[in-house]
Amino acid sequence: MSLALSSMSHPGPRKDVATAARLGASRKRTDRIIRTLCLAATIIGLVLLASILITLFYRGFEAMSLRVFTHVTAAPGSEGGLLNAIVGSLIQSLIGTAIGTPIGMLVGTYLAEYAKDSWLGNAVRFVSDILLSAPSILIGLFVYQILVLPFGGFSGWAGIAALAIIVIPIVVRTTEDMLQLIPNTLREAVVGLGAPKWKMIVLICWRAAIAGIITGILLAVARVAGETAPLLFTSLGNNAWSTDLSKPMSSLPVTIYAFAGSPFEDWIALAWAGALLITLGVLSLNILARTLLRSRI
């Protein structure tokens, strides 16, 4: 900018015009180089994503078959699949989200509607943002301390609790953001009609913000479905078919983690199949969430 100004502010003789032209050329060159570098950075980002997806498709498709969905994990050399892991992941992610979502929505509502600038509101907002980015392995350790150790063992419930703790701040953030987008005139109009505030919030604001909140929930499901670290010390994993939440429960990420380091080809192949499954699931949820948000706002 300073460069731009100095070269513009010289009126006058030919010599200066020539200098300006030369300066202009060098400015343009710098600009071109930087623009090329930025394009390159973007291309690198896209190539990395492509590389990950290609690796997953390449190695995952080899192992993909109907068996993956119809059989539970089995001993090496036997016909095993990932059924128990897939179902375990679904159960834990969905119940975890179902528990975390209402809490998150209430907290988000509190922040947007009741405690905009109060010290308590600021504290809650701060803490929720910390939780949003806190290392998920610590949440696993925490749940291990409060639910696994005292209650004598790893369980599906412990896994669900860990995932619910991860869900809460995601839903808090989207709920608060979405509620803030609602114009105050709408609120005033509803209250002016004589409706109590809680009805105004539940029936008007939540309804208006529903697309955004659902987006948040989808993103939360996508996030917890791919989480490994919080489940290692909580739901642990289970080689057999089990839907008993008081027992250790299998999940896709933990199974992938165990199988990927194993000595057996068929287990490693299953790990890749699982990796492909989970990535496709998580990415489609993300894309769905984004499309939904854009079509409604």
Partner: protein, 320 residues
């Protein structure tokens, strides 16, 4: 909607609804307080569980570079070192890339390209971290071991002053590989924050600079960056916070060596990877388990400081 307008504003229902209001407000507030308690409990639980380690080794636990499960000597030094080195290296690698992406998306790309490319980069953040681990181990590590590292070790390893950074066998795994994977993982977070804050610069500022004949880069350097400087640093801190606590991807490629390696290609440890790798072989009540939980506490303090700083810096963005 219908039910609201159908409710006549009578005194009786007003009283009932004011009770409803109170209950609803209380429930919301209770949920908020629950979140506070959750974080408080997390900190306290980790501290209490790690206390035996702090008691056994004192404050030296934080600095000691011993981690010898056989002799029951534990210290956090090596893993703190690894955590910080990989996270900072990841940021050094990720920031220029993220800046490039954000600049491209806000100023350079044709409008039709912005959304799909932006989404694709953001999808990098959605890929589960264990996938990064597998990809890193099966794709990146062999490439590094066979092509990148031998070249760098032969070229720079013999140089004075900086040579030590690039010595040792080309394992393909180690601190640098971990940092590389982390860089890709935090790239979308930093890029997204940068893009968002770049977009918040009032168009009139940029247009007046363009009107004076400034190039894209001059506008970025002269207008956008000064205007968004603080938020950009906040976004970088957010990325740093993420990199500090990343677990699964790192466990695949870090090498888990309980010693400080001066070479960037050497193996190391991060707090999160050490906890994940060693937890299964720790007995309840053992000093080792307490030490792992104490490490968790230290990691929490580290991330808390970084994330709190990030949030403080990004506050100005929220108020714009």
């Amino acid at each position: 909607m219908a039910s609201v307008s159908a409710t006549p504003p009578r005194a009786a229902s007003r009283r009932g609804s004011s009770l409803g209001d109170k209950v609803f407000a209380l429930v919301c507030q209770a949920a908020g307080i629950f979140v506070l308690i959750l974080l408080g409990a997390l900190i306290i639980e980790l501290l209490i569980a790690g206390l035996p380690a702090f008691r056994a080794f004192g404050l030296a636990f934080v600095t000691s570079t011993d981690w010898d499960p056989v002799k029951e000597l534990f210290g956090a030094g090596v893993s703190i070192y690894g955590t910080i080195v990989t996270a900072i290296l990841a940021i050094i690698l990720a920031v220029p890339l993220a800046f490039g992406v954000a600049f491209f998306l806000t100023e350079l790309a044709p409008p039709w390209m912005r959304r799909p490319v932006g989404t694709a980069v953001e999808l990098l953040a959605a890929v589960p971290s264990i996938i990064y681990g597998m990809w890193g181990f099966f794709v990146i590590a062999p490439a590094f071991a066979q092509h990148v590292q031998p070249f760098i070790i032969d070229t720079f390893g013999e140089l004075p002053l900086i040579g030590f950074l690039f010595q040792g066998p080309p394992f393909g795994t180690g601190l640098f590989t971990a940092a590389f994977i982390l860089a890709i993982m935090v790239l979308p977070f930093i890029a997204a924050t940068m893009r968002d804050v770049f977009e918040q610069v009032p168009p009139v500022y940029k247009e007046s600079a363009y009107g004076l004949g400034a190039t894209n880069w001059e506008v970025m350097k002269g207008v956008v960056i000064p205007y968004t400087r603080i938020s950009v640093v906040g976004g970088i801190m957010l990325g740093l916070g993420r990199a500090l606590g990343e677990t699964m991807a790192v466990t695949f490629v870090i090498g888990n060596a309980n010693r400080i390696s001066t070479s960037l290609f050497g193996p190391g440890n991060t707090i999160a990877s050490l906890v994940a790798l060693e937890f299964g072989e720790s007995e309840i009540g053992s000093l080792k388990l307490a030490s792992l939980l104490a490490l968790g506490f230290i990691l929490f303090v580290l991330s808390f400081v970084v994330l709190a700083t990030s949030r403080y810096l990004l506050r100005s963005r929220l108020k714009v």
